[in-house]
């Protein structure tokens, strides 16, 4: 299907907006499943983590006691799918008592720069996030 789209030449700015915490509800996991499938369509993709959405990216998640699959490692695969822009709102993190050190270290390899590892997480202020959101063609909300 992605080939059909390319022929059509349509490239849209797709934003996946994540505002919910993981595990309490399934939205975070099923959002990630959309992102992974969507990567095949060669659109201009970015993800936003606002409000409780920032909790999706915490490191050292261990779900053994609650019996639910830990899906946080899948975020590390996003770079391989050319999903490289994860906007994280600074204010949302700070309000929740977290800093970027509490988040996973997500990277992608830039093939145009000798496969150099580059950070996928882009920390932005709320005002910067407003601008990013205002610039999208399609916003998928979860």
């Amino acid at each position: 299907m992605s080939e059909d789209m390319e022929e059509g030449g349509t490239v849209k700015k797709f934003m996946y907006m994540n505002r919910k915490a993981p595990y309490g509800t399934i939205y975070a996991l099923e959002a990630l499943e959309v992102v992974l499938i969507g990567a095949a369509f060669d659109q201009d993709v970015s993800l936003a983590f606002i409000d409780d959405g920032v909790f999706q990216l915490t490191k050292d998640q261990n779900t053994d006691d609650i019996g639910i699959k830990n899906f946080s490692p899948a975020f590390r695969a996003l770079g391989d799918y050319d999903v490289t822009k994860l906007y994280v709102e600074k204010e949302s993190l700070a309000e929740r008592g977290l800093t970027q050190d509490d988040l996973m270290d997500l990277v992608w390899e830039d093939e145009d720069d000798d496969w150099a590892e580059k950070p996928s997480i882009i920390m932005v202020s709320r005002d910067e996030m407003k601008k990013v959101l205002g610039d999208q063609d399609v916003i998928m909300s979860f």
Binding site: M5, G8, E30, E33, G38, Q43, V138, M140, F142
Partner: protein
């Protein structure tokens, strides 16, 4: 103009499906095209033919099925979300070794790519959920 509609919650429990239905009807009445209605998360539960709502209330599944028939709407249930929640068509039931299926007329089961495609093809994607 081309609209895509996304429904993320099941029938009755949340108003999402009702709102999406009313929005879709209004868009059609204004002459717009609905490229697809995609049901994700618990939204797939809108597509079971086994609901028996009280006789003095609306029947959400039948409303969608009737609207689809009248306007040749493409109602798509996400396959991954549907499997988790026990929504199967005849083919899927066979493939999964299940002894029953429950998808209603006018709905079809397909992959998440159909959601992305709707986002690309539609001029506007409108999401209803919780």
């Amino acid at each position: 103009m081309k609209f895509g509609v996304v429904v993320n919650e099941g029938p009755y429990t949340h108003q999402a499906s009702d709102s999406a239905y009313n929005f879709t009807k209004a868009a059609l009445a204004k002459g717009h095209e609905i490229v697809r209605v995609f049901f994700y998360h618990d939204g797939v539960n809108n597509g079971t033919r086994l609901t028996v709502p009280p006789s003095d209330d609306r029947n959400i599944q039948e409303n969608w099925s009737a609207l689809a028939k009248e306007h040749e709407l493409d109602l798509v249930l996400c396959i991954a979300a549907a499997q988790r929640r026990g929504i199967l068509d005849e083919n899927e039931a066979k493939r999964q070794g299940k002894d029953a299926d429950n998808v209603a007329e006018g709905f079809r089961i397909s992959g998440l790519g159909q959601l992305i495609e709707a986002g690309i093809q539609a001029d506007r994607l409108v999401t209803f959920g919780d």
